[in-house]
Assembly symmetry: D2
Homo-oligomer: 276 residues x 4
Amino acid sequence: MLLVSCPDRPGIVAAVANFVAGLRGNIITAEQHTDDTTNTFHQRVVFSAEALTAAEIDASFSVVAEEFDMKYAVREPGWRPRTAILVSRQTHCLADLLSRAFSGELPVDVVAVISDYTDCQEFVVKLGYEFIYLPVEQDRAAQEARLLATLKELDVELVVLARYMRVLPAEIVNTWREQMINIHHSFLPAFVGANPYRQAHERGVKVIGATAHYVTEELDAGPIIEQDVVHVSHRDNPDVLARRGRDLETLVLARAVRAHLEHRILVSGNHTIVFS
Amino acid sequence: MLLVSCPDRPGIVAAVANFVAGLRGNIITAEQHTDDTTNTFHQRVVFSAEALTAAEIDASFSVVAEEFDMKYAVREPGWRPRTAILVSRQTHCLADLLSRAFSGELPVDVVAVISDYTDCQEFVVKLGYEFIYLPVEQDRAAQEARLLATLKELDVELVVLARYMRVLPAEIVNTWREQMINIHHSFLPAFVGANPYRQAHERGVKVIGATAHYVTEELDAGPIIEQDVVHVSHRDNPDVLARRGRDLETLVLARAVRAHLEHRILVSGNHTIVFS
Amino acid sequence: MLLVSCPDRPGIVAAVANFVAGLRGNIITAEQHTDDTTNTFHQRVVFSAEALTAAEIDASFSVVAEEFDMKYAVREPGWRPRTAILVSRQTHCLADLLSRAFSGELPVDVVAVISDYTDCQEFVVKLGYEFIYLPVEQDRAAQEARLLATLKELDVELVVLARYMRVLPAEIVNTWREQMINIHHSFLPAFVGANPYRQAHERGVKVIGATAHYVTEELDAGPIIEQDVVHVSHRDNPDVLARRGRDLETLVLARAVRAHLEHRILVSGNHTIVFS
Amino acid sequence: MLLVSCPDRPGIVAAVANFVAGLRGNIITAEQHTDDTTNTFHQRVVFSAEALTAAEIDASFSVVAEEFDMKYAVREPGWRPRTAILVSRQTHCLADLLSRAFSGELPVDVVAVISDYTDCQEFVVKLGYEFIYLPVEQDRAAQEARLLATLKELDVELVVLARYMRVLPAEIVNTWREQMINIHHSFLPAFVGANPYRQAHERGVKVIGATAHYVTEELDAGPIIEQDVVHVSHRDNPDVLARRGRDLETLVLARAVRAHLEHRILVSGNHTIVFS
């Protein structure tokens, strides 16, 4: 699988297709998108090329890439990243992700669940996953340092923030750039900040949402991967809004993680192209 | 039909039901809602009481209302308000509303379409409606004064801002308080301000929305009546977003106007209860 | 809490409200619905009446009920029924329900998970729930008899069919009438029968759905409790449709179970009133 | 623009891309889809090739097409087909389509509105469109013959059935094969036949839909172009369902017509690929 971004100009599609044909490969799916506003071409090409490894494909593609000034990545379809899930007190997203990992529906290798609370410990341990408790005591920086060390030690490729309620330091965010997914309990950019369901109730909105995004240094402003909404009404008090929100958060995060695992996401500037 | 709001306490429902029974009326539908956060009771009761006029019902209900410190309104079901539609250059909402008025689907008496441009004039006139052209020349205040005078002269009960792109002065807003509905080309409170579809594209949102609300002095902050959303993707450039947005705006505004015409909306603080 | 159904006529709402007032109770929420086509009145009244038990309320309400020819039920809010979940090979709905039960989000007491396969056994047992394996060997009737005996022995009040792929005999269905909820992997009444996602793909539908309903003797024709849909496209092959369908089934079943647990559902003829 | 379908095999994408490159064209967007179940490749390629006409492109592409056994069509982007809208008594879809045509939002040249009733006549005539009244008197076949003659005489390329309530004879259907779009007042394949909203109410569905499809000889079974749904509840009687259905029908039909006008639809077997 090949993910490609470059300035748009004639001949790119032909060059990529000829490259695959030259490997005696067959293109299974190819999706492309040109962003008019930036004149940037993006493509995701899934192809079969039996005997070749990703490294071999990578080496031979570099010639094409150079000609068109491409950023590109070669991915193998059976990817199963070492994954850490970070969570605070609310366990709905975590429970869903672990259930999907347990049943094999999501191809992830959950190497640890890390939390600043113990609310989810029993569930995690019973299912046989590693639980790491990293509370914040007096010193927030100390906890962050331990978190970074833990993630490095575990050799984690993907970090999922499944309702982890702390802002992470730049060093962690930048180490897992485009490899760290957060679920935001709101339809960004509305209701940034605390207590969104109370805000939503007071404002009397008729729709609530949830947003999964890559984490960047600027809080809640990273590239959006997936959003969804449900209709609500005056009958829904803040508690009911929160409950509906939880179901939405769960689903939106699971979809975003899946899109990431299937290499469907290209980041361009501050937004994503999510090939379907 | 009776619309009632009052501080919550035991006995309200019984008092209203006994009142209707005392008129030898039959309750056809009754919906109620108690807002926990403000401890306010709201009710909409549709009942039959054959021989009585709204004025008679009003007079006899005042005793109940006093006891429970109620704000209330008696409405007659066949309401068909004198309505002005204000519009600037985009005609999609206007065309929809006029088509619905023309066919009788929406029970409104459109007494005039008022615009600061002439884009919609031909459509309006061909369908046989009054078109009033109120351009802003040098003097914005002068246009506003003419607009106010026109609305008063026409004896307008309901004002629909169908993509009218000017902020209205307080005097107009307050004269048609809870009788003036605006369609906002966005999912409020996100993307307040100009060019929301470009903002949405740059932010890479996966959902766009539209919001119909009563107009208050604070711009775009009045009680929300109706919202809806559609899913979008990276494939949708700002033009396509705008087009999808137009269809959404059209539908959301039509629904809000209908809810208003059917007396389904109670305003409480800065939000609405929309009985279904 | 009081659930009431009776032929519509003047005075019902007043009679119920006066009954509650007579108990010195306060109506917290009351929703009512009159079905025009059958002229039937339905109401759900949640009220506080501090010192009284359900039995006492029941006894004193019977006078009102008789006068209006009412079917009614008095429910206590903290209901936590003994529940069996039946499942075959697909575990997504089960995993979600158990996670919600485990975290306390759903107020159910899951006394057993019963399956004709062992696919879910590990997950169930690890979480500490009882797993009962009831395979169908030569004799289907024998398995059904054991199932009935097991459910009776466990004194089960609620049965959830979480992708249990066998038709149940009338005796079981009728014993848990309006206490047995099934999730159907389709938007009923379309695509009744096997392999709905393949059918949906071949027909090229642009929307798929899932339906939760009470189980009746007529297969897949019981009162619908909850339905939802997702948009799909030609890009979604039957496997992807099935995956999206699973997420939908999970959510729709959880919502239906919650509505049942909160006594929000009244069955009328072959459809439901689900008070919100 | 090039629409291509052929048996899948290696080299197709490269061949098409090389063809465009050979014209010194630039691919603006290319979407492709391979249907696994039939092993068929579909592609829609929008490209710039300044000096060339569709006929010239067609001629030079035939070599590629032959090699890969392709069905293909060359389309020009500014298409504005001569269109007839057929309608019976309900005017909501018609009013919407005419408004969109009038404002220029939909690039169609509406050469006539044809009806077996006169309900819409006033609206059509006022807006300046041709209205043709073709009632069915004693003889249905006679009306059908006149309809066919009229459509031919008008040299119609696209026929939109905007709630036209008669089954059309095979000769008409086959003459405008894949050029005749119908809106069905239901979520096909559920509730085929008369009075779907009454059926839906009796069945107590929680979601209703509408379906736009190409017309084929088998009633309501042609390739689906677009579907959408809205949530409903027990509170919606058949009249309200019908009203919500009308809004849905209007929107779904408009989207389907737009997709057709933009050459986004490929028909494959009995389903469509609608490129976005």
